[in-house]
Symmetry: none
Subunit: 196 residues, 4 copies
DNA sequence: AATGAATGAGTCTTCATTCAT
DNA sequence: CATGAATGAAGACTCATTCAT
């Protein structure tokens, strides 16, 4: 079946299958055979497209990050204005978009976060993403607050977002987006209180 | 001297060795042989004291939780008064006590958090702890705020604590306790603003 | 120009690539993908021209043997006379011709020699060649020596040639043709001593 | 079954099994499972005693070399005098001792000789052995011949021994010790002719 | 004629667990 | 109590071979 142009399709299939498997049985129990079979392919194919298991995992994490960035970009593009508060709300909304808080995505996130503690490449990806979120937030706060205050506010909001999300990942029940947004918005409002 | 009481000593040795190994090479690469050798014991001994690997892991997580509770109890006991704010500050301080934010402890935490997604017993322990933190915080807020407000404030503070801690776990550098406390205190102050 | 005759060209390419690969990484690590890529072709092509891996290996060994016979024929044709001694010297020279003692050729030889222990077809080729060398040598000795003496002299010279070559194959350095010839000539001289 | 002192016994078992397997199906088709099963043990045991397949192979080759050295030492010790000729005959005899020319041993030899072309450690062992044989022989010749003559005689005899042995390895039939000895003795006699 | 994607059987290796001592 | 030898199942990875294009 040597159709040309299978590369991107097969990679997508396998990355999707990896996310599904991580969701269902966890990274520790995820085998290449599992992933391949979930993708409806044979085990040998993984090395063909990703070299080895690490390659597959790295690619999967990159995909997860890409989706977060896409969500953030979309929400900010669609924000009704460019005020700091509006933009920060867009960032909050993007982080709690369904693409990010559905159980599969959340489990993948936490899985990669934990795995990054001992895997160099994942740690690198994680750190880049981490800094990007913080920078975006900080930039907006600096338009409204003195630099030191802006930095703490940014650290606080980033922590709040991750914390709400982290605690949500534990629940069996659906992540409560409204509640999370209310709490994050409240934090934001209090930081910008009496300004705009 | 009776030779009794090897039980608790050996268990401690093995749990310590488990934490060390998780810290250094990660749970995924932690083998019982590693753990046993780190503890200066033979591989066969693990099953003698913990039944199997799961038993060891469960016991290790219990130990980590116990230490957090001990820290919280200690800080609250030593708080200068029983005012909500003071008690909540004590809870914050306990969560950022060195016993909780040293790299080994933080890695263990995140490791177990992630592992709990697919391990029933760990999930149970996690959830109990999670609720206990929330309940403690909520209880204090309710002494100062209307119930609905108290609940959101509690959710927010718990998320803030976990988020600061989570983001700290990524850093190579030492966790910045002062900064984390400043941000958490600030959140607390704003929630209780104009009350006391 | 008819497009016919790709057959011999492709086969040559692949056989050459096989020898190169055996030289560089050894038969044990030689994969069809390696060979094909060295030949600048695709992996699937091998089965088209040789059926399977065994077919390729057999063809490669045949080629190696053909080159030895060509060398021997050439040297004997060019010998200055038909005396036994001259003809035996020609055989010695042919065996130490550069086409036989360059590192690639020597490694291929030893590789096939070893492989022939458990591969029927290679063993057959090996044995035919082996006998041919012995017969050639023996025939010449019989022109000068009584039959029993001739047989032992032939066995000795054949062993001497193979032994010099075998020990040369170990060296990292270039095979010392002069030295090998001196030693083999000396053996020859002593066998024919006092005879002319 | 943790009897102590199993180490040397198990290693022997596995090395023997390796030699048997190489003899019967060849190195290329020798799997650890094969070896272990031949030894009546489980596949996992190999890594316990030899680390990995390479470790097993190295140990096996070392054993083969050890046996050759033991044979040489024994024959020289038992030689009736210390004359060069007698000692050289002892070396020849040792190389054609049954421990060296039984089919299993010969196949192992040739296998390792070929394998050493692309395996560093085997090459090292091979070269050490190679030099030792040459040195021993050369030393004896130098007691009877001028240095240059001694060196060529040593190279010739070493090549003769290896060549006879190499050609013998091809035969299905039993190695003809008498014939080989006759030919090697003859070479020796002619080199020392008119001296002692 | 030639490609190269895909398969799937087979190998090495790891490791939790058992158990004789 | 404790050891550590031994097991054997399971996983990652390789690669000869096939086959649609």
């Amino acid at each position: 079946m040597p159709k040309v142009g299978m590369h991107p399709i097969r990679r997508q299939q396998l990355i999707r299958a990896t996310l599904t498997t991580i969701d269902q049985i966890g990274l520790a129990d995820t085998t290449l055979a599992q992933v391949a079979s979930t993708a409806g392919l044979s085990p040998g194919i993984v090395s063909h497209y990703f070299g080895d298991k690490d390659g597959l995992l790295n690619a999967t994490m990159r995909q997860v990050l890409r989706e977060l960035h896409a969500a953030i970009a979309k929400y900010r593009r669609e924000a009704r204005d460019d005020l700091p508060k509006t933009q920060l709300q867009a960032i909050i909304d993007a982080n709690f978009d369904d693409s990010q808080v559905n159980p599969t995505a959340m489990r993948a996130w936490l899985t990669f976060w934990a795995a990054s503690m001992h895997r160099l490449e994942l740690a690198r990806l994680q750190r880049v993403n981490d800094r990007r979120l913080y920078s975006n937030i900080c930039w907006q706060f600096r338009r409204a607050l003195p630099v030191e205050r802006a930095r703490d506010a940014a650290r606080g909001l980033a922590a709040m977002i991750d914390g709400l999300w982290l605690r949500g990942s534990l629940r069996d029940s659906q992540f409560d987006v409204e509640q999370a947004r209310t709490i994050a918005y409240d934090y934001l409002n209090r930081q910008l209180e009496g300004l705009v």
